[in-house]
Subunit: 278 residues, 4 copies
Amino acid sequence: MAPHILRIDCPDEPGLVHKISGVLFNAGYNVLDNQEFVDLEAKHFFMRTAFEGAAAPDRVIPYLQQVLPASAVVKLATTEKQPVVILATTEAHCLGDLLIRHYSGELPAQIRAVIANHETLGSLVKQFSIPFHCISHKDLDRTEHEKQVIEVIDSYAPEYIVLAKYMRILTPNFVAHYRNRVINIHHSFLPAFIGAKPYHQAYVRGVKIIGATAHIVTDDLDTGPIIAQNVIPVNHTVTAAAMMQAGRDVEKIVLAKAVKLAFEERVFLHGNRTIVFE
Amino acid sequence: MAPHILRIDCPDEPGLVHKISGVLFNAGYNVLDNQEFVDLEAKHFFMRTAFEGAAAPDRVIPYLQQVLPASAVVKLATTEKQPVVILATTEAHCLGDLLIRHYSGELPAQIRAVIANHETLGSLVKQFSIPFHCISHKDLDRTEHEKQVIEVIDSYAPEYIVLAKYMRILTPNFVAHYRNRVINIHHSFLPAFIGAKPYHQAYVRGVKIIGATAHIVTDDLDTGPIIAQNVIPVNHTVTAAAMMQAGRDVEKIVLAKAVKLAFEERVFLHGNRTIVFE
Amino acid sequence: MAPHILRIDCPDEPGLVHKISGVLFNAGYNVLDNQEFVDLEAKHFFMRTAFEGAAAPDRVIPYLQQVLPASAVVKLATTEKQPVVILATTEAHCLGDLLIRHYSGELPAQIRAVIANHETLGSLVKQFSIPFHCISHKDLDRTEHEKQVIEVIDSYAPEYIVLAKYMRILTPNFVAHYRNRVINIHHSFLPAFIGAKPYHQAYVRGVKIIGATAHIVTDDLDTGPIIAQNVIPVNHTVTAAAMMQAGRDVEKIVLAKAVKLAFEERVFLHGNRTIVFE
Amino acid sequence: MAPHILRIDCPDEPGLVHKISGVLFNAGYNVLDNQEFVDLEAKHFFMRTAFEGAAAPDRVIPYLQQVLPASAVVKLATTEKQPVVILATTEAHCLGDLLIRHYSGELPAQIRAVIANHETLGSLVKQFSIPFHCISHKDLDRTEHEKQVIEVIDSYAPEYIVLAKYMRILTPNFVAHYRNRVINIHHSFLPAFIGAKPYHQAYVRGVKIIGATAHIVTDDLDTGPIIAQNVIPVNHTVTAAAMMQAGRDVEKIVLAKAVKLAFEERVFLHGNRTIVFE
């Protein structure tokens, strides 16, 4: 039987670990893995517990409610793979990496569909027997285009939407519709080089390290909570075009890591920061 | 017109750079990029030059022979993509990564065929419209199995053979047949954990960093000249199985890097060491 | 008032977290930081808790003994700086780094003395107003030399002994005398290049990454439990001598990190592996 | 006899390598190491050559002038250690690291003096028998304070001035006085977190990697040409204060690396970018 995941997030107060672990212990569950963190500055408590046992896991909810503050956010998740929809444009490296991981069973999510605003990646997606929807933005205003995209996304009921180099700016309406459920890969080491052409900016600035950032999408472009980052060294011989190529390896690894963390229920948001139980 | 690549490798002597650059200058070529290295201990000279010009590049060969030591190894290479054949077994991550790079035009080589000793990866390869040959080792002795593999490889006349998690030990005959042309990915940070089950060895030893090594295959298993290596941190929470999964990301990036370096003619061998002009 | 540290290490059984956190909660302590880990393979439980409160911390010990398995190892530690003795030979980089950290108050330990088998580093140590003992190994057999070293070490009653490039092999007697309390820095990425001249070995092997390893000393040279490791990239242009120089930066950072982790009571040993709560 | 270093920096044109190497060859010098780079976008040529020979090295200058463009910048440097003056405030980690490297002969420069605007570091510097000048900024306007600092610096005629956590903003006059000769360590991964309190900024932003940047000082604070950068991973458990402490290790290693590169004549400036021949 697959383990269950319990996530709790609430204002800190004394004895929380004792009380929560008591609920699981008294219900006869076996705790496989437990991680908690108290943000002492924000006085906030975060906990992720993997546990197993014969009884239905949701029977613990009322007991937890008795011992937790009223404002606690409690989520019981399954370890079964949840659906994801990927948005892309024309670049294959991030999408392709996710498709290969999905193919080999490594991705802790089910790719239900890929949506793109160009036809370019259609043949790649279809050869993996995954539905591909090209929704061109041509001759559509942003709102109308997004309306069509949202309609297709919602038909798949995904847990998260992953932007795998989707080169369209999202409206606040789209962001609000999937609040805290859209994961983006930004091709720079944020907060450096926010905005367009980060590799070109990095080249002009003469940096010796470039990177990529996976983050939750919020209204402020490229400033949402960061889930994962990584970097690679560069030097004066690396042109802006070569940086872009070298950066692809970082982008795809960082995005895949963020997707894995999110679907394994390891990411908590608190203001503009994330707590990530790796 | 595509640039040409000139590779020279010879015992060191005074004035080599002056003489070689003189040949190219006098022939009217434009040098785009030049890297040289003198191994002061071995007293050996290595040079890689990218140049362009209207004239046929091989006209410089006789002039170079006049100024170089008799034992010099000179190679003129084109920057056009050369053929590669990939050998695999059942794991998809390294092969899949090469296929995606090939698909998007990023790989500086043409994948002509994939050969495997299991059927597992056949559908993945075929969906990229690349020939797949399953040559099972069942009921065959090692020599007979390799004979069949060699026959198929040779029919594609590849520049290099890439072992993308090919889990068969190669005979000296195979290695000699493709001397210095077989690139392997070893799932550990060589020379640590030579041999079988390196991730399990790493777990038992309690290391805090694991890695992968791409190398040229020689008769001594896992001890050939190293082209590229990379590592990732681990800690006590990472099981041997989780190390294996985390290691896959390192393996595929390191192997792809080694393939790129080799096909771009950036790798020189000298004894058991490599000179790599990145 | 300084926080207290509670360390527990015992065979795993259900409800440990609940019971232990209950003891602290009922005693009115405030838990500042808590980390636990269950090695599912070894069925062993590890916990490190930082807590504060008005009451004397050792009053919790009898209550903990009531709820823990009989074989549990329980340690109450203070966060006050404990004494350390450093052993060195002639190289200044690791010792110097620890002295500077000590000078600026960054090291979570008190350097009580430095012992060396050469006079070389005496002036450096003395200028920091720290006792320096030169105990030459000349004209002494190994046992007699160690006897004198042990006598001086013991006069300072250190928590740990740190080998900062101490180039003498220790006898089993010395190791047993300070069981699990001697921290060494090995100038290679163990288990690669065990033994003498690791940088020369690394050069000859042609590796592309070198590293350093801080570990607890056991009878088998260079094979004790690893606390911390780090690496840096090298290439064909780096000679064995240059590797040695570049390696010094890794060695000193890794050793200082291991010393910090050990004195902050973050390192647990289990067989040949470490659990490190960073 | 110590090798000489030749640095050349000029607009690119065909045959430069051939002509320059010809001058050295014809003068009977033995080239030990040679690195050149052509910035194809800027059409600019950079070369660093280490050579040895009996003849006085400056005899090659007139011959080089005959073959180089009129605007070429040619510098002949010795490999003997050149003087450096260090400016600091109260933090010991960067200064201490340079002092230890200097003590052990590892630094390719002679520390002639340390100047600080506080007394704090005086005893540390003096115990290394290096002159320490405290020039307090109290009761002085910025211009008057800098005037006194410049006077002391100039009395030591340093090649470079190194700011080892010198927490004073420099005036354009100071920068112009030591144009391209002031090396600073900035406690962030530039261009992220420009300005004050970068670790606090990094904490608030929730980044997963922090770093440090060594750069040449120009009038625009924190935007001069970058010589070296490095990073370390952080996570949600790392407070702003802990980031600052962890960042110190990166700062000191990056600053020491930049000082080494500069004194070994490996750094060329071109606009706001550096060419660094490592």
